[in-house]
Every structure is written in structure tokens, then in C-alpha cells.
């Protein structure tokens, strides 16, 4: 498997503040990697480093290029949506398509037109971006991005401020219009539950450090939640859960690398949600 992004000992300091602290990871071709972290964890800084928007220490290679020094070359093969609001508000839809067509060698006007034909933006070619609804702006942006034959797509909170219908549609379109095994997606969002079923891999970041880097398939094997109560809870606690919480008088305990044979008699086992795992990991990292 080829690694599209390789980070070895990557750090980024802002004065005395360390936003990204000695991070190492790989992102392979054909993956959808979710980068999850609380506010101020260093997600956006890390993405900026990957996109060549900020300089960092350590070795970082994206598509075999140094992202900061070879940004123009990199941008031919990377797309990113940093926030729905970043499309210039004064530009007309048709002008935007003309501009991207004349500056991006990998942009297909036909594909963009075909994608827009199914959206509400289709009849608004002469409208300025500021006259479109937030949802339409997101559709427009995604159509442009999907029409670029890029190898890596980076999404930083792409659905922020959109209503639930548009958010669902956005990710559905992302999978149908953009993704295939030749392409790779790196996405951050606060709404983990909305994307966890499309992710192939996941990374947790907290205080500039990566506290989990795993494939979604391995999560089910490596982590398990036990729903238990009473004496059994005491027994389970002695096995060493990484987190514990109360729900309706029962205990839910989260185990890492679980010994299922020992846990099974103590209650119901199931795979934890990414959100619960995330909370447990972040709390665990802080203690």
C-alpha cells in the first residue's frame, strides 16, 4: 500500500505554545481518515501543515512533495474545503467555474456542470455566492472539488453551519461523486457520529499529540464496551477499564485490548461508538 501522507516527528510552535507536538503517522491511498479532536487540539494546524499553508518542523511529505515548499505542484493534486464560507462572496457561479477552469489543469468543466445539474445551484448561474443559501454554497463548493481530478481531498469542518439534511447529503455526495480507491480523504469534524460510518481509519488528536491511530475495522477488536451492574461491575472494574460511566443505574465500562472470555459472563458486550471512545481516550490522556 502506498502512503500518500507521511509525517515523522512533525511539530508546530506558535511562540511558546506547542500546537502540534512531535506527531508521526501515515495515510494510505484509498482511505477515508477522520481526524478527531477537541477545540484547540491542533487539528487545523496539522491540516494546514499538510496543505502547505504553514511551515512546520520535522519531516512531512504529501504525495512525495514538501507541502510548504512545493505548494503549487501539490495543489494540482490536492483539494480542500476549509469551511463552507470560504468561497468569495462577490463572485458569480459562472465566473467561479470559469476561473477554476482556466487555472486548474485537473478541473473538468463537464463534470462540474453535470454535478451542478442535480442541485438547486443549477438555475442560479448568474447569482453571486452571497445570494445563495449556505447549503447551496456547500453544494457548489463540493461540485467544484469533485470535478477536480485530485488524489487527496482535505476537509476541515466542511459541514459547519449546515442543517441536518444538507449535512447528510454532503457526505452522501462525497462518497458517490468523489470517492474511489484511487482517491483519499482526510476529514475533521465535531460531528463524529455523522461520519463514523464512512471512515476507514481514524486518528484522535489531543493537545497536539496523536492518542489513537487505528483502522475502523480494528476498533471493534481492540475496544469493547461492557454494560453491567452490581457485583459484576466490581469484578469488571478489577480487570481495568479505561473509562466508566453511569447510564440508568447501570455501568458502562470501556476496555482496551479486551479479554472477551473474561468479560462475556459479566454483562452485554458491544462495540463502542467513536464518540464514546474519543471521550474515554481524551479523559485518559489527561489523567
Amino acid at each position: 500500500m502506498t502512503s500518500l501522507v507521511t509525517a515523522r516527528g512533525v511539530s508546530k510552535h506558535y511562540g511558546k505554545i506547542c500546537a502540534v507536538d512531535n506527531v508521526s503517522f501515515d495515510i494510505d491511498k484509498g482511505k477515508i481518515m477522520g481526524l478527531i479532536g477537541p477545540n484547540g487540539a491542533g487539528k487545523t494546524t496539522l491540516l494546514k501543515a499538510v496543505l502547505g499553508l504553514t511551515e512546520c518542523d520535522g519531516d512531512l511529505s504529501v504525495l512525495g512533495l514538501d507541502p510548504f515548499r512545493q505548494r503549487k505542484e501539490l495543489m494540482r493534486n490536492i483539494c480542500f474545503i476549509a469551511d463552507v464560507a470560504v468561497l468569495p462572496r462577490w463572485i458569480r457561479v459562472s465566473q467561479l467555474l470559469d476561473f477554476v477552469e482556466s487555472t486548474h489543469p485537473n478541473f473538468s468543466r463537464e463534470k462540474a456542470e453535470a454535478l451542478l445539474a442535480n442541485t438547486k445551484v443549477n438555475t442560479r448561474r448568474d447569482s453571486r455566492v452571497r445570494e445563495l443559501s449556505k447549503g447551496m454554497v456547500a453544494q457548489l463548493h463540493l461540485a467544484i472539488i469533485a470535478a477536480i481530478d485530485a488524489r487527496l481531498l482535505v476537509l476541515d469542518e466542511p459541514t459547519l453551519g449546515l442543517d441536518i439534511i444538507f449535512r447528510k447529503e454532503f457526505y452522501a455526495n462525497l462518497l458517490s461523486d468523489y470517492f474511489d480507491e484511487e482517491r483519499t480523504i482526510l476529514v475533521t469534524t465535531h460531528q463524529v457520529e455523522e461520519i463514523e460510518n464512512i471512515l476507514t481509519d481514524i486518528m484522535f488528536i489531543n493537545e497536539g499529540r496523536i492518542i489513537l491511530d487505528a483502522s475502523m475495522d480494528s476498533l471493534g477488536e481492540d475496544y469493547v464496551e461492557l454494560l453491567t451492574s452490581g457485583d459484576k461491575a466490581e469484578q469488571a472494574r478489577s480487570i481495568g477499564p479505561i473509562a466508566e460511566r453511569d447510564v440508568f443505574g447501570k455501568k458502562i465500562m470501556l476496555f482496551e485490548k479486551p479479554d472477551r472470555e473474561r468479560l462475556e459472563p459479566l454483562g452485554d458486550l458491544h462495540t463502542p461508538s467513536v464518540a464514546d471512545l474519543f471521550v474515554a481516550k481524551v479523559k485518559g490522556a489527561m489523567t
Binding site: T44, L51, K72, M75, P88, R89, T103
Partner: protein
């Protein structure tokens, strides 16, 4: 590279519609004012008939050329004044607005370097704005000549002879083109400074651009009792090395009681060679280049997170 530049410059015109709206608005006002002027003077019937008679029969070609050139200059200077203001606001906004509305992240997601972007904005300020202004000056000139012709015809004059046979179109237009573009190049250090301010300032670029231009001369005066900075910045406009030494005394040849034909031509007063060989022109362009380079670096290395 050139394809990107054309696309980027076209984008500047889309974004800053004032590039063409401002000169066109002035053109409309100038044309309306000259039309109103003609209507007003029409009240002086007798004097007008005398003037038309004089222009047709007594005055020579040089006199008619001088009158029409004076008319051209009278309606054109205001465009240069507007261009100066337009260029100031355009350059101060050019690298500031994209940060304010956060679209900079979108622009930077395309395979375009920061240098290409800044250069496109510089080229727009140095050439596109002046060229659009010259085009509108020429258009206004033609519109005004057509209006004047109509008026002369109504008054019983021969417009083909009085206007179109006498107006030095090429001379007027070439002079307008040279003076406008040369003025932009001459003021390029300020244009570069404005671009740099618009790239680095976090708020109110207008204030940030002019504050140093006002404070530095004050400090210089307090400590050194000199005005070198102030005269270099504010006096620069008057020092443009484009014109020949004016010999206005010979404009009217008193012996022959006619206008000196040689001096009626605007191009006769312009010395492009002197401009191109002037060290201060090139020094100015170097200063502009340094500021533009600084703007590129600011855009590339700035990290607002």
C-alpha cells in the same frame, strides 16, 4: 503562467467593478456637463454666430487645434484625478478583502502561487486601471466631439471642417495614453507600499497606509529640521520627468499673430526618452518591486491561526 495571469487579472476586474464603473460614471458626468455648457452658451446667440464665423473664416488650423486640444485637456484631467483615488482604494483593498472575507483559503487551494497572485494585482494597478481609464477618456472624447458636432451643425456651422478636420485625435489620444501609464509607473512606489499594507494590516488599511506617511515627516522635522521624506512622497507627483521644458512664451507667435503650430501638439511637450532614462523612474520601480516582494512573503508566511 501567462494563462494564469490573464485569469487572475480577469478576476480582479470581476471583483473590483469600480475599475470600469468609476471612469464610466465620470464620463457620463463630463459629457452631461459639456452638454449643459453648450445649452447655456446657446443663449448668447449673436456672440456665438460671431465665434463660429471667426472659427470658420479667420482662425487657422493651429488655432482650431489649440481650442480643441484645450477642450480635450479640460475634460480629461478629472479622469487622472479619479484614477489616483481609484488606484489607492484598489491596491489597499486587493490583499486585504480576501483575508477579511476568508476567501484567501479558497484562492490558496488552487494551484496558483502567492507570487502570481500579488503580481496580478500589481499589473492590474500599474496597467489595467490606467488602460481602462485611457479607453474611457477616448470614448468620452468621441462622444463629446459628436455632441459638439451636432451643436455646431444646429448653429449652421460646418462640423466636418471645424471639428473633425481640425481635431488632432492621434496626438490627443497618444498623449493621454503616455501620460496616464507613465503617471502610474512614476507613482509605483506608493502603489507597492499600498499593496504591502493591504497584505499585512489586520484592520483599516487606509489608516495604516497614510499614518506613517504623516508621522515620519513630523518626526523628521522634529529631529532633523528637514523635509526630505515629505517632498519625496508628496512632491513626487509634480516631479514626473516626462515633460520637456515648457516654452510657453513662444506658444503665441506675436510677430505673426498666430499660435505656434509646433507647440499646439501635446506630444511635442512629452519626452518619453527622458522618462525612460530617468534614474528616479527606475529607483521608484525598484522600491515598488521590494514592497511587492514583501507583500508576497507576508501572504505566503502569514499564519493567522
Amino acid at each position: 503562467m501567462i494563462g494564469n495571469q490573464l485569469a487572475l487579472i480577469r478576476r480582479e476586474i470581476w471583483e473590483h467593478r469600480s475599475i470600469y464603473v468609476t471612469p464610466i460614471a465620470i464620463a457620463v458626468i463630463v459629457s452631461l456637463v459639456s452638454l449643459a455648457g453648450m445649452v447655456t452658451v446657446s443663449a448668447f446667440d449673436k456672440e456665438l454666430n460671431m465665434a463660429l464665423f471667426g472659427a470658420s473664416n479667420i482662425a487657422g488650423d493651429a488655432e482650431r487645434q489649440a481650442a480643441l486640444t484645450a477642450f480635450f485637456l479640460g475634460t480629461s484631467w478629472i479622469f487622472l484625478f479619479a484614477l489616483a483615488i481609484l488606484t489607492t482604494f484598489y491596491t489597499l483593498d486587493s490583499l486585504y478583502a480576501e483575508r477579511k472575507d476568508k476567501s484567501i483559503l479558497f484562492w490558496r487551494s488552487l494551484p496558483i502561487t502567492d507570487a502570481e497572485t500579488v503580481v496580478s494585482k500589481l499589473l492590474t494597478a500599474l496597467f489595467v486601471l490606467p488602460l481602462v481609464t485611457v479607453a474611457v477618456i477616448i470614448l468620452t472624447h468621441l462622444v463629446n466631439l459628436v455632441i459638439t458636432s451636432g451643436w455646431v451643425i444646429v448653429k449652421g456651422g460646418n462640423a466636418a471642417h471645424l471639428i473633425w478636420g481640425s481635431v488632432p485625435l492621434f496626438d490627443n489620444w497618444a498623449a493621454a495614453l503616455i501620460v496616464t501609464v507613465a503617471s502610474a509607473l512614476w507613482m509605483s512606489p506608493l502603489i507597492g507600499w499600498f499593496l504591502f499594507v493591504s497584505a499585512f494590516t489586520k484592520r483599516s488599511p487606509l489608516l495604516m497606509a497614510f499614518m506613517p506617511l504623516i508621522i515620519i515627516p513630523i518626526i523628521e522635522w522634529i529631529f532633523f529640521r528637514s523635509k526630505i521624506f515629505a517632498s519625496a512622497v508628496f512632491g513626487r507627483g509634480e516631479m514626473i520627468p516626462l515633460f520637456r521644458e515648457m516654452d510657453i512664451e513662444h506658444f503665441f507667435d506675436e510677430d505673426r499673430m498666430v499660435v505656434n503650430e509646433e507647440l499646439v501638439r501635446l506630444l511635442a511637450h512629452i519626452d518619453v526618452g527622458k522618462f525612460l532614462l530617468s534614474p528616479s523612474v527606475w529607483t521608484g520601480l525598484v522600491v515598488c518591486g521590494l514592497f511587492a516582494t514583501a507583500a508576497i512573503y507576508v501572504r505566503r508566511y502569514r499564519d493567522d491561526s
